[in-house]
Amino acid sequence: MKPLSCSTLPPADRTLLRYGQRLVPGSNREEWLRHWHAELCHLRSRASIGGRQNLALGLLLDAVWLRKESWRRNLSGSASLCLTLLASLLPMAALPVFMLAGNLKAFAAFIESSAPSFVCGSLPIVIASLFTSQISVERRGLPVRSRIKACIFHVCKIALLVPLTFLLSFDLLAPLHPFTSFPAFLLQSSLFAVLALIALRWAILDCSLRCKHCLRSLAEPVRVGRPSRNFLEWNGFELLCTEGHGMLSIPEIESSSCSASRWFPGNRV
């Protein structure tokens, strides 16, 4: 690629390029500059359409689009996006309880009074769902750092999901509370158990379908083999990490040779 030179452009265009490039992500910047240098040079040689102001909007919106796309690519399916979404749902789930309480002091009193039932209810649910989960992935050969990162992510997700389902169970039964206190408490506890079990099942399944290195959701599921329950045939699904870290192979039936999902790091795919 030839080195880029803006010396042939008028100062206004050069200023536009200088400020516009700041919006563009580093990996696209050189190509973007080359593209817009050519477009602006072409504009100067033609007077048939638009004007510099018209092209300036295209230049800026093109740069903004590249930046937005880079954020979308980086965030889509990432662990941080998952945790951020769950964390942002927490205040939303707490809002109806807060409105029912009326003020901050009453809300704090409600949290304090609910804490024992929350702890007593959530601990057995978390333990039960972790021990009864049958989803397992062979993690041999994974670096310790990746394992620790995955572990922190699991813990954070569970730590967000349990209070979220607890608040949600309150929100759903909020209209019953002022009239039937004790039956509502029983109903709310049962609803909390059901919601928490569903949420934790989802959390465990979601964690097993993430890249073991970057914790991004795996994509492009591909079916391997014919849909069959034949023991001697190799059937299952394969999912890829979009960043190229590896591939997850999920067998359709358990066998002695392949009893669990297997993670193949990028260099072995």
Binding site: K2, R34, H35, H37, A38, E39, C41, H42, L43, S45, R46, S48, I49, G50, N54, L55, A56, L57, G58, L59, L60, L61, D62, V64, W65, L66, E69
Partner: protein, 100 residues
């Protein structure tokens, strides 16, 4: 299945199918502003309906200008263009074909 395109994206795709291959020409023939054309071209390229390539340095030097980036419609883009023609009847309004 062809992706659902906005009217402006369909118009850009139609211009590309008629042989207009860079941003400026598309602005000229469709009458769309640059703020619509360039981000739409990026989106179409991301969705693999449009492909792009750079003019060779030798060709550009011979014409005394910097290399341009050309866009061409892909096979998937042609299918999307046909589907869009059904969805937007106004697209049948003829655009002038590019002279060679």
């Amino acid at each position: 299945m062809s992706p659902r395109l906005s009217h402006s994206a369909a118009l850009i795709l139609k211009a590309l199918s008629l042989g207009y291959c860079f941003g400026f020409e598309i602005m000229e023939v469709t009458g769309l502003p640059s703020g619509t054309v360039y981000p739409s071209l990026r989106r179409l390229e991301r969705d693999k309906l449009v492909d792009s390539h750079w003019e060779s340095d030798a060709d550009a030097e011979a014409r005394g200008r910097p290399s341009r980036r050309y866009h061409i419609i892909t096979v998937a883009g042609k299918a999307a263009n046909l589907a869009a023609a059904d969805r937007y009847p106004l697209l049948s309004r003829p655009l002038p074909e590019k002279s060679a």
